[in-house]
Symmetry: C2
Subunit: 517 residues, 2 copies
């Protein structure tokens, strides 16, 4: 046993490759523990223990961070990346080494003192944002946002970037994603979505939705959600379902991926579609090749690809008409009074109702990407010095009016609505729109491969669909970079036409739109 506690498994009679694999395996154990701490904190840890709990999280985080930049790690990287050594490594080790090297550089290029300052800046910004949002007063938040942007601009120069400085931030959660790609794709998507939305707004015969908001007991919702998860194929021997305030799926290890949800007694959709969404995330993690266990490659390859899996299940399965042909009778049984006399068509149109709204997280499938594009444009402008921070609220409102046709009457519902910037998260928002784009693009291929797709969904035979996703996307984990994965699976680069066609076809039918010539 090594005396430092850092590398107890590493022994000298093993090869450097073996020692490296043991070392990173220990790091995955620390990550499992951090994920358990997170899960527990958000699913029922007693509140008075959270202050001390935060110390434990800090200690484990620091240990994992220290391992990522230790002298041992440096030695592994230096020795194993030497040309001859590198060629002899297994493909998994090579990829894991790449990953470790990228992380090493990310963590060491920022001077430690500066990063510590930034952590404090970020904490203060979060607190200020909470006050600012509550009082709907942007001026409280602006100086903090300015500091956060300044620090991140410096980090970008430390890290380096290709093309646009904002690419460095995009790359953090979506490796290989660039402003070039997003500008091209979002321009088309924005134009088409605004046009489709305008046609929907003008359509006659809007769906009735009031019946959706009747009382549905939470106990019954719990039963319904468990039932649906089982039908979808969630394995409760490899996961569990709990309740929380901000739902998430959490991988503890390859065979323990948990789902959380929240129930609203007067909006059963919230829990139901939230659960299906998190199921999609969980399924990804559960299907990664077991050869990647114990490496940092045993996770989804990017935030955007991950979101494509959750959105595929939530939107393209859960909001699919064939799905409800099969499950509407079952749903009715859980709360008969609510759906008495509501025909399936009426139900289907109601859950797919489109309505521009101020809040991104409450937006429907059609308007959601516009919320994201707005944020992308602002972030890109900030990191290219094209936008003044003082202009943000007005810019936000102008874009809301331009894209969605509505203007928030206060900043709480406008520029202050998201917590992301206050936590220093820049470059993440595009993931949410990428999720839709990837999902639609993958779906186009799936529909060719599974010609009986509609039949499968209507018969709740999800096995072929899960298998297709597992073998085509999930199994690779981080072994394939997101751009490569997309190209290999779909034969093309990111292409907004798939999402546009999907939305036009679906909402054209729901709103009886004439096809746009």
């Amino acid at each position: 046993m090594n005396q430092t506690g850092g590398v107890s498994l590493v022994q000298t009679n093993r090869s450097t490759e073996e020692n490296f694999l043991l070392y990173i395996r220990e790091m995955t154990h620390l990550q499992e523990v951090l994920n358990l701490l997170f899960w527990d904190t958000r699913t029922g840890a007693p509140k008075n223990g959270l202050e001390l709990r935060a110390e434990a999280v800090g200690t484990i985080s620091a240990k994992k961070f220290a391992m990522s930049i230790s002298t041992e790690m440096k030695a592994f990287i230096d020795e194993l990346t030497q040309c001859n050594n590198f060629q002899e490594l297994s493909p998994i080790t090579r990829k894991a080494l790449e990953h470790a090297k990228k992380e090493y550089e990310l963590h060491t290029k920022i001077p430690m003192e500066e990063y510590k300052e930034y952590v404090i800046v970020r904490e203060n910004a979060s607190k200020a944002w909470e006050v600012a949002k509550k009082e709907s007063d942007y001026s409280i938040f602006q100086p903090h946002l300015e500091k956060l942007v300044t620090y991140n601009k410096r980090f970008i120069t430390y890290w380096g970037y290709q093309g646009n400085p904002y690419n460095a931030l995009l790359d953090l959660q979506n490796p290989g994603m660039t402003v070039d790609i997003l500008d091209r794709v979002f321009a088309t998507l924005k134009k088409k979505l605004i046009s489709l939305l305008n046609r929907v707004k003008e359509a006659k015969g809007k769906p009735t939705t009031t019946f959706l908001f009747e009382r549905f007991s939470i106990a019954k919702q719990r039963d319904l959600n468990r039932y649906l998860l089982k039908e979808l194929g969630y394995d409760f021997d490899r996961g569990r379902l709990d309740e929380t305030v901000h739902p998430f799926a959490m991988e503890l290890n390859r065979n323990d991926v948990r789902i959380t949800t929240r129930y609203d007694e007067f909006d059963f959709k919230s829990g139901l579609f939230g659960t299906i969404h998190e199921f999609g995330h969980a399924l990804y993690e559960l299907n990664i090749s077991d050869e990647l266990i114990g490496t940092p490659l045993c996770n989804g390859t990017s935030a955007g690809i991950h979101e494509s899996q959750s959105l595929f299940w939530e939107k393209m399965i859960g909001l699919n008409k064939n799905f409800w042909k099969r499950f509407y009778p079952a749903l009715k049984q859980y709360n008969p009074d609510q759906f008495n006399g509501v025909e399936i068509d009426e139900f289907y149109r109601a859950i797919n109702s489109v309505q521009p709204s101020f809040i991104r997280v409450e937006a429907d499938e059609l308007t959601y990407p516009l919320h994201v594009i707005l944020r992308y444009e602002i972030e890109k402008g900030l990191f290219n010095n094209e936008i003044e921070l003082s202009d943000l609220p007005d810019l936000w409102n102008q874009k809301m009016e331009e894209y969605l046709g509505i203007t928030p009457d206060n900043h709480e519902k406008g520029v202050l609505q998201d917590m992301h910037w206050s936590a220093g998260m820049f470059g993440l928002f595009p993931s949410y729109a990428l999720g839709y784009l990837y999902a639609a693009q993958f779906r186009s291929v799936m529909l060719k491969d599974l010609i009986e797709f509609d039949h499968f969904v209507e018969n709740a035979n999800f096995i072929p669909i899960r298998e297709w996703l597992a073998q085509t996307i999930h199994v690779h984990g981080k072994m394939k970079e997101p751009n490569d994965l997309l190209l290999e699976v779909t034969g093309e680069e990111l292409n907004p036409d798939h999402l546009i066609a999907y939305l036009e076809q679906k909402y054209g039918e729901i709103y009886n739109l004439e096809s746009e010539s």
Copy 2:
């Protein structure tokens, strides 16, 4: 940030004392994580994830172990125990240093290779014991038990001991406990309990207990247990109640101490008294002085004292007649059919019914200590080379007949019933009887201090009782050694007369015994 991951908080511009306190605080964080992993594994972690989970547990355990024997730890001990330095330390640091030094020696005196061998011996023994128990065949387990005893005998020589070699094992869970003390106390206790038990056996008018085993829905039991915990004063902002197979209480940190229980649909007592028992353990940990947070002193001082707190609440409160004067009407409401027509006296006598039985964990208050004394005598004999391993089954059965008047007809219900020995746990059993002895001895003082004790219990006013326990026992944590605590609180050494008097008085009344002259 230090690069080894072991001591990231330790900085050179702090005093050695401050650095030592930060170092042991990190160790408490690792312990919190280990306790969370344990709790999660036993309250619902999905079963297919447990194999990988075990690796994470191994990594964190190894890290904590490594910190306890690191060169840093050795340097802290060497520097701070030097006479002048030691005098200048705060009392808490001095005690924590003592604790760290004791642990350092415990961990370093056994050669690492030998300890690794022992871990494997123990794993094999556990598996063999499971088979042996299932087949009720002691010969399958005996060779493994022999190895376990041999290893532990060697460990005792490495550690050293005073007086009897078995003292080294007793000291592990009950610091300062010795064969001298136990021989003296158990001899008296055994004689008096056997005599009292014989009088109970001959008593006329045994309690009727059949009504206790009627159906009581688990949902209603859950409600009942939560209700009672709140009445007893368990703070759900500092803990939670979950279900498991082998119930336990678990301190994650000073403000997060969780209780687990299990429900039997046809034996509500099992869950109810189990919950009260674990409440007693939890209350101890919740009341330790916040000055001890972040040190290994922020836990109960010994297994025996801990057990005294759980048994006090379970037996001396939960099986108390005044308690049920207050709570029997409430209990009835949770399952009216079961208790219809059952008067409180009948109920009280039923839950206190005495019946010699083979299985320790199912034993009543009166016979339980005899099960423990039997095991103590066998362990002491083994580690003093006075008993042959091949004689164990017969010896067990002889003692059962002598103490309880019954002889198990197979070894599954006899010598093979407990998992302790198969896990290498020797010296722990006496804690369970010590718990009764301490509880009764503390109670004698409490009754003098709180002359309205009966009144408090009958009115569910547990505040004075909790306060007394908190200020007299709990607050000290491990700052006071168990023998010192007992002497300071009760003014005498361990004295079996208190338990004997309590039991004679209580069961004399329940069974209408004439007082023994």
